[in-house]
Symmetry: D2
Subunit: 357 residues, 4 copies
């Protein structure tokens, strides 16, 4: 007899929600997508064509979906502002949860999800940091873990979105949490992964500009920003996030150790084609985040499912998601105030004078 | 109601057979793997663990599998020597067929599969040239088709396997058809795809050496060979095949046109990681063909399935597979004789003097 | 009759001094190396073999060299601590000056060289920022200047020296001015070049660690540091400097504009060779700064010479060298204090509260 | 006293002649350009500006230049058709000779230069295969010589000129010796260098097309051609030459050994700049041969000079130049006849039947 499959529902059918739904429907052999919910009529319409014929029940109301008999898990891809609420409701209803990042743009709200999960230790609750599932990042991590670069000390990472002249990002800035929270959280998560998930932040500072979208300023946001994150133990991460890359999605990472360096995607490419033409040699790069990380999202769906049906360990701690939001928010605050923000070794925010070293 | 799925059986569960079986089981949403056959006990044992629990019936006898009720298609991944026999039997039993390449190492036998398929025009019969399904080759083809490089005129392609010092390739040479048939058929297929599937070969000539496996000579084979294939209409393909690449699978292709050039995998890589260390900057490359083309095989399974259930067109003509074998065999013959082999514009082999131009 | 040649003397024959002397002797057709000075006996010994036979007079005393009849120019490659003194003496003696960078590790002393030069406007006085003469940086600058990337807004640059486990850098830290002054001054100079030499710094902040050389701390120095430099007008440079690169000299730069990005040496390489071996594909990189910039130093010698003999313009303003030192020193100070340092639009250091925006 | 300089004259002041003259004038410290000759008035005019003021005597007649008192050497950069005549005259006049490649487009005439040189063993006579002096080729050769790739067995090389739609190459074909003689001689020379200068050719065969310049056919020439060169001892070189590269000069080489592979310029580039723009990531490549090999030509001038003034060994045997022409002519002949051409182990041309193996 075939092993049981995980019955999962998808909350939200926007851009990422559609993708998650299809991954669980078609590319996650041990999962069975049995439900999907969205308050949006156009999304329901899409689901009638692409999900319903395959046995997926559709809901306009998330709470109702949670009550579907046999439902074991939910993947949450609703708007960021309701991530935490949806996650906590699911946990309370005894469902495993895979929640899109970030849990929330607020540290406190993010922590409330972690607290809820702690009350139900039998549940698998994971924040979907997709880069953890990317083959290249995993290879880099394994090489570092094997000692190839000595002790990792400096970490550089950037998330640079393709220029979108439509004004989308200005409207989006109202609820995105700001460029560091929206773009850099995955980079911060990577820093924590490569430096160790128990790394404690010591100080953050940042600077930003509005090079193409001056309208962002009214929401305290920028379209390009750089930040420095110091960790206790002599480690530094420095980050760049941007909304104006001409060529496409340009996300890359360097991990620099005492005996070597690893780079991931320092030479971005859409595929293995090069074009020789009168203007030189050219390659294309992915237009967006999904173009770069599609396979990672599929692996994420499969590994989350595997952990649920086998009651196995998840590849990362949920608490890391709170730490990432905390650092992202502090960087965003520094962007506005110009101040460097300090934390003591217990994670509490302090004045510089109160630091020992 | 969910659209019907294609009920498919897998013939052969060797290295590639296992992969095909798993692709149809787990990664081809519109197919249902319902059967698998192999005469090999160890392979049956593997299938009891990995296939049977998911509803796949196992057979030691291929003919018996063909009679399973409801079976609509077979993927043939048995040893090359029975590809054609299995394919023809399946066609005669009214099954769609996806046959691993080559159809046969003999032109005549390959043609017999084409002839059988012609008698059953309602069936989908495809030879699995996986590179047709690779995203990079497709992108290159689309760019060429859009006129980006003008008229394609010169084609260079190589298939270079990782060095295997075990002596495997010497034993294998007895039934592989030789290095040009075994390694270069996919390159020849690519040449026909990029130059047009109706391209007619005019002449072939080749040279080879045994640099690491002198034992190959007793089977008329070599471990490194280069060949030139001229086509009518002023086009040339030149090919290199090897069994001694140190770094891994090194397959690359160039399409050179009157206004530009496209390369595919001219800079091989396993992933997006670079390692900076005392000896310089290094990247790894895939160890074998599957490491390079895994995703292409999955796409192949999905597109074949789609063509079957929707009665849609296949992405390539079956007759191309015969033309590829014909050219591969002629290159192999030239390797042994030293002679250049000529063909007239109808495809018949002739002496040079009989050519018009 | 052949055009006159510039009679030049070389001050200092250490590592860079030897190179400068040989460039002017052998690779600068319009210059004639007529003198060289060094207080060091071993260096004099070297010069007896490599310079004296070609008509170069040797001096143990710099002041004496300055009095050599017919001497028109000096290239100053003595230890950094005497750069400024030597430069000012040469200017006072009416010699053209090409001075190795930095003019001084002190802003005030650097300014005194600029002041001296201003009193002798007929002299060519240049600080040797060799990257200005590198073909790749020039090409990038020309492309930016032609509008290829829109308005430059973000600048990233790094100077990473090869790991030297000998303890050299600890001893060197006593008089180097610190890692930002020693390593990053060329990057800061580049930022000023690409953003415009009149760009005014608004704020700087930095962080550093001692990952391999804890002994540096006693001199207030670090072996890895990152810094952010904000400029008035909405531009940001961010910098990384390191003494622990395993693979060799790893200097790279990105100029990110509103419509594109230019990178220089983002994929470092010693030459055009790739090595395919069992561990993958590898290339080497230059072991040191000279390995990367040798040709730029030669071009620098030639263009300086040309400006002198033709009374033509120099490719950059001397005042930029002071601005670069000022920023480098502020970054180094921030490294120690943790504070962000602010400047008003006239360049004066102020408290944050005094800034308008 | 400064060591003596080599007094050299330059024969021919066309495109390459001008470059050679300037290299010896300005970039070869131990040489002194004292003379130059050309029958061409425009070239004389150029020389009045660029050479004469620096003490170079000009001649319209080559023979007259040879008689200039004190002249010790000549660099021959006249049209290919007089290379051999000029070289032999210089040898007879007891001058060292650096002759541009090829010595001649005829094997016999090339051999006559070698014979003349043999009669004057005290003279340095070298054919200017500039790639021998390229840092990347040298590094590759040194790595091969150190055993990094085991025994070299397969050699691939291409010389691809930028598309020149002016019709220049059709006119040029009348005296160029054909595309294999004009373009591939340097590749053949490299094959001999990497396989060993005493390698004996066993067979050659080739194919070509006229993709952009059909007018070439009337001179028996092609604009794209591929060839296979077998050597005794189990080695194969395969070559591609082209006149229609869109992006620029695209010359690359692979040396494939039993334990690894070396590539030279497999990723061509003009410099270290990459451009990120809406169409992707782009780099430029050199427009012509000199753009790729300028520094090699300068090194060639210096090393030739050094061998002359120090009576040291030349880096390669002159006889290799004849072997290269012999192979190039045979490839060109095969292009026309379609036949494979065979040689016995003494280098004599034979019918296939007469070969032992």
């Amino acid at each position: 007899m075939a092993p049981a499959k995980l019955k999962i529902g998808c909350a939200g059918l926007g851009r990422m929600g559609k993708r998650h739904a299809l991954h669980f429907l078609n590319r996650t052999p041990r999962a069975e997508l049995v439900a999907a919910s969205t308050p949006d009529d156009a999304e329901i319409q899409w689901a009638r064509v692409h999900l319903e014929p395959y046995g997926v029940r559709l809901y306009k109301d998330y709470d109702e979906m949670l009550q579907q008999e046999g439902l074991q898990a939910v993947v949450i891809a609703s708007v960021t502002t309701v991530h935490a609420e949806h996650a906590i409701k699911a946990i309370d209803a005894n469902k495993h949860v895979l929640c899109e990042k970030p849990l929330s743009t607020s540290v406190e709200v993010s922590q409330s999800v972690v607290d809820a999960a702690k009350r139900k230790p039998h549940l698998k609750v994971m924040c979907g940091f997709s880069r953890h599932f990317d083959a290249s990042y995993r290879d880099a991590w394994a090489k570092m873990d094997a000692g190839l670069i000595g002790r990792p000390a400096i970490f550089r990472s950037q998330t640079c979105d393709m220029l979108n002249p439509s004004g989308f990002f200005v409207a989006y800035a109202q609820f995105s949490g700001g460029i560091f929270v929206d773009c850099s959280i995955p980079d911060i998560d990577l820093a924590l992964w490569f430096f160790g998930q128990d790394s404690m932040v010591k100080g953050v500072v940042s600077s930003g500009i509005t090079a193409v979208q001056p309208g962002l300023r009214k929401y305290g946001d920028r379209d390009n920003a750089v930040g420095i994150v110091e960790f206790y133990g002599g480690r530094i991460a420095y980050l760049y996030c941007s909304r104006m890359m001409a060529a496409g999605q340009d996300d890359s990472t360097e991990i620099i150790g005492t005996a070597g360096k690893l780079t991931v995607n320092a030479q971005p490419m859409a595929n293995l084609v090069h074009i020789y033409e009168a203007s030189g040699i050219r390659r294309e790069i992915p237009p967006n985040y999904y173009g770069r990380f599609e396979q990672a999202f599929v692996t994420e769906a499969n590994e989350f499912t595997h952990a649920c049906v086998e009651d196995g360990p998840l590849p990362m701690k949920l608490s890391g998601a709170v730490q990432a939001v905390k650092i992202g928010c502090a960087l965003q605050e520094s962007l506005r105030s110009g101040d460097r923000i300090w934390f003591d070794e217990t994670g509490r925010r302090v004045e510089r004078e109160m630091l020992s070293g």
